[in-house]
Every structure is written in structure tokens, then in C-alpha cells.
């Protein structure tokens, strides 16, 4: 069994567990609230079993190279730095609010990852802040507050 196939089957098994939990949880609801979830989750479980079998059958007809790249390998290695950037942005927003975090994130990402010149990265983040403030004023928008301070909240 190829690693990709194994990953796909595990992915489907996780979906199946979620569907079973939803079916089980729906049993306590009144008729009008449980009818639709039970019909949909039940049908989905049935189709998932068919898809599970079909995925295994398809893999037998295909050479291992055509299965696609496994996620838990090179792909995750390539993607991880960007997921970490995203995680850092979320942590920053939760601590110092959106506007300052956005400016810092865009400047740092543009300079280190986008290989922009320092002044271009700085200009981009200043323009973004101006855009956000104008958007906030124009449409009366609100920003996620930071734990420590939120200057434009």
C-alpha cells in the first residue's frame, strides 16, 4: 500500500468518525431538528463506504507514481514555513491587535520572503495601514483587539 493511499484512507476514516458522532448526537434532537442531519449524515456515510472501496480499487489500477504526492513528506516540509508565518500573525494579532500586526507582518514577510527592498516593504505596510484605517472609517469596521493594546480598535 502506497503512503499516499494510506493517508487518503485515514482521511476518510476521520470523516467517517465525524459523521458517526453527528449521527449519534442528532438522536437527542426533536424530530424537525434531527431529520435533515440524519438523512444527510446517513447518506454521506453510505457514500463514504463506496468511495473508500473505490479509492482502494483505483489504486490497484494505477502505478504508485500516479497516486499524487503524500502530504506528510516533502509537501509539508515545503509548506511548514508559511504555516508558521501564519501562526505568528495570529499570535501577534491576539497580543497587539490587527493593524500593528498587519503592518509588521507585511513588512517582515515582504522583506524576508518576498525579497522586496526594505523601502518597498515599508511602503507596502504603510499603505496597508492607511487602507485599513480608511476602510474602518468609511465602513465603520471593527478590528480584532489585542490582549495588550489595540490602538485602532
Amino acid at each position: 500500500m502506497s503512503r499516499r493511499l494510506l493517508e487518503e484512507l485515514v482521511f476518510m476514516a476521520i470523516i467517517a468518525v465525524i459523521l458517526v458522532v453527528m449521527l449519534w448526537a442528532a438522536m437527542d434532537y426533536p424530530f424537525t431538528a434531527r431529520l435533515m442531519p440524519q438523512v444527510v449524515a446517513g447518506t454521506a456515510l453510505l457514500l463514504l463506504v463506496i468511495e473508500f472501496v473505490q479509492t482502494v480499487r483505483r489504486s490497484r489500477h494505477k502505478p504508485a507514481t500516479e497516486h499524487g504526492e503524500p502530504l506528510f513528506g516533502d509537501k509539508l516540509k515545503r509548506t511548514m514555513p508559511y504555516l508558521l508565518w501564519l501562526a505568528a500573525l495570529y499570535v501577534a494579532v491576539s497580543l497587539i491587535g490587527l493593524v500593528i500586526s498587519a503592518a509588521l507582518f507585511c513588512a517582515a514577510f515582504g522583506y524576508f520572503v518576498g525579497k522586496l527592498r526594505w523601502w518597498a516593504a515599508l511602503l507596502g505596510s504603510v499603505l496597508l495601514v492607511v487602507f485599513l484605517i480608511a476602510l474602518g472609517e468609511g465602513f465603520n469596521l471593527d478590528w480584532p483587539p489585542g490582549y495588550f493594546f489595540s490602538p485602532f480598535h
Binding site: 493517508e7 487518503e8 482521511f11 470523516i15 459523521l19 453527528m22 448526537a25 442528532a26 434532537y29 426533536p30 424537525t32 431538528a33 431529520l35 435533515m36 442531519p37 438523512v39 444527510v40 449524515a41 447518506t43 454521506a44 457514500l47 463514504l48 463506496i50 468511495e51 473505490q54 483505483r58 489500477h61 494505477k62 499524487g68 502530504l71 509537501k75 515545503r78 509548506t79 508559511y82 504555516l83 501564519l86 500573525l89 495570529y90 494579532v93 491576539s94 490587527l98 498587519a102 507582518f105 507585511c106 514577510f109 515582504g110 520572503v113 518576498g114 525579497k115 522586496l116 507596502g124 496597508l128 485599513l132 476602510l135 465602513f139 469596521l141 471593527d142 478590528w143 480584532p144
Partner: protein
């Protein structure tokens, strides 16, 4: 009727009202270009301003906005592979591959010209159908509407992605996601646990942006490239317009389909582009290019999603039953202005109705022209490496996500759905049907609950229900068989 139409035209062309129509068109263009937003968001933005406005000016502004979203939403669909709104999901399938091949110009100009023709046909049909639509619309009952929605979901599921059952499963996941939160027919909060955020359900804009934009951006960054895989926007703008006229019958068929489906309440918005994509595929001999950058796959959904606006206004104006989410908010606006939609729209309020028709036509022309003018600079965006624009796009999307309920849950839901979307993309599960299932879930649940409560199980014996059910099953099996055969052929 003809004299009334001329009088309505003079009302629409009044400069003071024309300005408001242009304002609505401008807002519609911006909302359409921003991924994940759509007619409902645009209508919600404009609605607070209609208080105290001149009735015709307010209608011009609202209809002007609604009319052009289906044209402008082509930009994100083609350039970054993210549907600008629910009605432009099918455009992504061929529009995005065309942009990746450096033919964004061809895709955009074909889409805009098809949208323009579709929009005008929609307005014309709305004008012609007003006096005769009533008996047809009223003949649909809840069980029929439920079965039509099921049929739509089957078609969508089959057409999206490589594997038929994954498409249908994805629509079912979308329906299940929509069931998080309060149940419509009883005082029950479903699948929310202790989360107060989930009690109102997952907002549509967050689901759309998370499912489509986050996975695309992550993969673009990981591959370190621009949206376009080639360095030039080789094929031009004239060939796009030419392609639309070459496929004129496809444009006409898709527009007719758009009007017809748009007129069915709750069905239109997110299914019509898939249905017309399906008929384009069905009527083409060489189907192998669909999904790889086939221009017919852009023309068909774009002409139908503009035409459906005319169709969606038929039940909205004549019976007060909104044909789509956008028209639901429009309905609220009309009531705010003191206009009660219903049969009076053909008698005492006829000038208002005809003003709507003219505005729809005029806004489509203005919107398409504006899109043509803007398309060159905006298409160049597809050449910029992802690492240069991704941080700005991520921030704009986070801002958009946070405006839904203004809770941290919005940001958490956005990123969690984004990661799920990324897993879907990685393992070849189609994402568009999740969104369609989500959008249609409230109507399908309402129709099922009403059918079960009012008719028991006897509605299953209704001849129309049986016919639609058999058609759905036939489509399901035939589609699965055709896809299975093509996969076997590819494997061998």
C-alpha cells in the same frame, strides 16, 4: 406597457438617479472583485443608505449593485482561482487554468462579453415574462422545490472534481456544516457543544474564503510562483469577445437556463453556473479540455449567472418570494421604501417594476464596460509572485472574515476551514460542492421539513417528485459510469 416602459426609461436616465445607479455599480464592482464577498454583502452595505432616499434613485442604486457583481466576480475566479461570489464557482474550473496558461485576457474578455449578453437577456425576459409568470411560479410546492434542489446538488456533485462520489459527498459535507447552530424549525442548537460562536452557524463568507483562498495561497507560496505559470499574458482581449460570438448559441442557451433557474426561489444563485457548465460540457463533442482551460467552460456559467439576476427578480417582485440571497435583502430594501412586492407590481407599481428592468439592463452594460477597462491592469496581478502579494491578501481576508460577527471565532473558523480546504485540495476532494451544499442547506431543510410536516411521507408519491427523483438517480448513475469509464481509459 410600451408607453410605461418609455416613461420608466426617462425616470432611469434622469441624471440625479443615474448618479446613484453608477454609485451602486461601483460598489458592485468592488464587492465582486473582493473574493468571498457577494451580492448579499453588497446589498447589506447599501441598505442603510436607502432610508429617506427618492424611491427610484434607491432602486437604481440597489439594482445597479446587484447587476454587476456577477460580472466583476470573474476577476478573482479567473486570476486567483477563488470564486468572487457563489454564482461564479464554475468559472474557476476553466478560467483559472486559462490564467495559469497566461491567457487571463482571453478568459476575462470572453466572460465579460458573455456576462453582458446574459444580463441583457435576463432583463429582456424579465420584461416579457412579467404578465405570464404567476401561474408557473405558484405551481411549485415544497416537495417539488426539495427535489429540484436535490437534482441541482446531484449535478453539482457529479460535475465537480475527478471522482463522482467525492463531489456528492462534498455537497453533503457542506449541508452538514450549514447545520451547525440553531435549527430553523425548532429551538435546538445542533452540534455546537459549549461554543457560543457556533450558535449562529458558520458565516458563508468565512467558509468561502477559508475553503478557496487559504489553500491556494499556501500552495502558491510553497511552490514559490505567481498565479500564472507562464510569463506573458499571451492571448488577447479581442479573441475573448470573438469566442463569445462564435459560441453564440451556447450564450443563448446558458442565458435562458440562467433566467429559468434564477426564477426558482432558493435554487438559482449557486447552482445555475454549474447547470450551465454541465450543459456546455454535454453539448460539446470533445469534453477532454473541460477543466483544463476550455473557453466554453467560462462563457456558459458567466452568461447564465448574469441572466439569473433577471430571473431571480420575477418571484421577488411578483410574489415577494426572493429568488436568491441578494434579492432577499433587496426585498427588505423595497419594503423599507414603502413598496410591497406582489401583484401590485404589475398594476399601481408598474413604473417601479419597469425601472428595475431598465436599471438591470443599463447596469449590465456599464458594468461590463468598466470591467473591460479595468481588466488589463487587474489581469497583470496574475503575474506577480505570490510571496509579494500574499501577505496583503491574507490581511484583507482576515479583515473580511472578522467583520462577519466581530468575534475571535471568525478568525479561528477562517483558519480551521482553510486548513480543511487545504487537506481537501491535497487529497483531490472538490471544494466547490461544499460551498454549494452550504448555501442550499437552509432551503433544502426548509422544503424537507415542510414536506414531511404537511404531507407526511405521501409527498414521495407525487408524480412530479417521482419524475425529478428518477432524473436525479439517472444522472447520478450515468454520470458515475461515464466518469468511471474515463478514469479506466486514463489508467490504461
Amino acid at each position: 406597457m410600451f408607453e410605461a416602459a418609455l416613461e420608466a426609461l426617462s425616470i432611469v436616465l434622469d441624471p440625479s438617479r443615474l448618479v446613484f445607479m453608477l454609485l451602486g455599480v461601483s460598489v458592485g464592482l468592488i464587492v465582486g472583485i473582493l473574493p468571498g464577498l457577494g451580492g448579499v454583502v453588497g446589498m447589506s452595505l447599501l441598505l442603510p443608505f436607502v432610508y429617506g432616499m427618492d424611491t427610484y434613485a434607491a432602486i437604481a442604486m440597489l439594482i445597479g449593485m446587484a447587476a454587476v457583481i456577477a460580472t466583476a466576480d470573474t476577476f478573482p475566479s479567473v486570476l486567483i482561482g477563488v470564486p468572487g461570489s457563489a454564482g461564479s464557482q464554475a468559472t474557476v474550473l476553466d478560467g483559472y487554468p486559462l490564467a495559469q496558461q497566461g491567457r487571463a485576457g482571453l478568459a476575462l474578455s470572453a466572460a465579460f462579453s458573455a456576462s453582458l449578453i446574459g444580463g441583457l437577456i435576463g432583463a429582456l425576459v424579465l420584461f416579457l415574462i412579467l404578465p405570464v409568470a404567476r401561474p408557473v411560479i405558484l405551481s411549485f410546492k415544497s416537495p417539488h422545490l426539495f427535489m429540484l434542489t436535490v437534482l441541482g446538488l446531484c449535478v453539482v456533485g457529479l460535475l465537480a472534481g475527478k471522482y463522482p462520489f467525492r463531489g456528492i459527498l462534498a455537497t453533503l459535507f457542506g449541508i452538514l456544516i450549514a447545520m451547525l447552530g440553531s435549527a430553523p424549525a425548532s429551538v435546538t442548537f445542533r452540534f455546537v457543544g459549549d461554543s457560543t460562536y457556533l450558535m449562529d452557524g458558520v458565516p458563508l463568507a468565512i467558509l468561502a474564503m477559508g475553503l478557496f483562498a487559504v489553500p491556494e495561497i499556501i500552495d502558491l507560496l510553497a511552490e514559490n510562483r505567481a498565479v500564472s505559470k507562464v510569463k506573458t499574458l499571451s492571448e488577447g482581449w479581442k479573441s475573448g469577445i470573438k469566442a463569445t460570438f462564435t459560441h453564440r448559441w451556447l450564450v443563448l442557451r446558458s442565458s435562458a437556463l440562467g433566467v429559468a433557474v434564477g426564477a426558482i426561489p432558493g435554487l438559482g444563485g449557486s447552482v445555475v453556473d454549474w447547470l450551465s457548465y454541465g450543459q456546455a460540457m454535454h453539448t460539446t463533442k470533445d469534453k477532454s479540455r473541460f477543466g483544463q482551460g476550455e473557453i466554453r467552460g467560462v462563457i456558459a456559467p458567466e452568461s447564465s449567472n448574469n441572466a439569473k439576476e433577471g430571473g431571480a427578480l420575477i418571484p421577488t417582485l411578483l410574489f415577494g418570494i426572493p429568488g436568491s440571497g441578494t434579492t432577499a435583502v433587496l426585498l427588505g430594501g423595497l419594503i423599507l421604501l414603502g413598496i410591497q412586492p406582489g401583484p401590485s407590481m404589475l398594476t399601481s407599481n408598474l413604473p417601479v417594476t419597469l425601472t428595475v428592468v431598465w436599471t438591470l439592463a443599463l447596469a449590465n452594460v456599464v458594468g461590463a464596460l468598466a470591467c473591460f477597462l479595468l481588466s488589463r491592469p487587474i489581469a497583470r496581478l496574475s503575474m506577480i509572485p505570490a510571496s509579494k502579494f500574499a501577505p496583503f491578501l491574507i490581511i484583507v481576508m482576515m479583515v473580511g472574515a472578522y467583520q462577519n460577527t466581530r468575534q475571535w471565532g471568525d478568525l479561528v473558523a477562517f483558519i480551521v476551514i482553510g486548513l480543511v480546504g487545504w487537506l481537501f485540495k491535497t487529497y483531490d476532494w472538490p471544494r466547490a460542492p461544499v460551498l454549494i451544499g452550504f448555501v442550499l442547506a437552509p432551503s433544502i431543510e426548509r422544503y424537507l421539513t415542510i414536506s414531511a410536516s404537511r404531507y407526511g411521507w405521501s409527498w414521495l408519491a407525487d408524480p412530479i417528485v417521482i419524475v425529478i427523483g428518477l432524473v436525479s438517480i439517472a444522472i447520478l448513475f450515468a454520470g458515475a459510469r461515464v466518469k468511471g469509464k474515463s478514469q479506466t481509459r486514463e489508467a490504461s
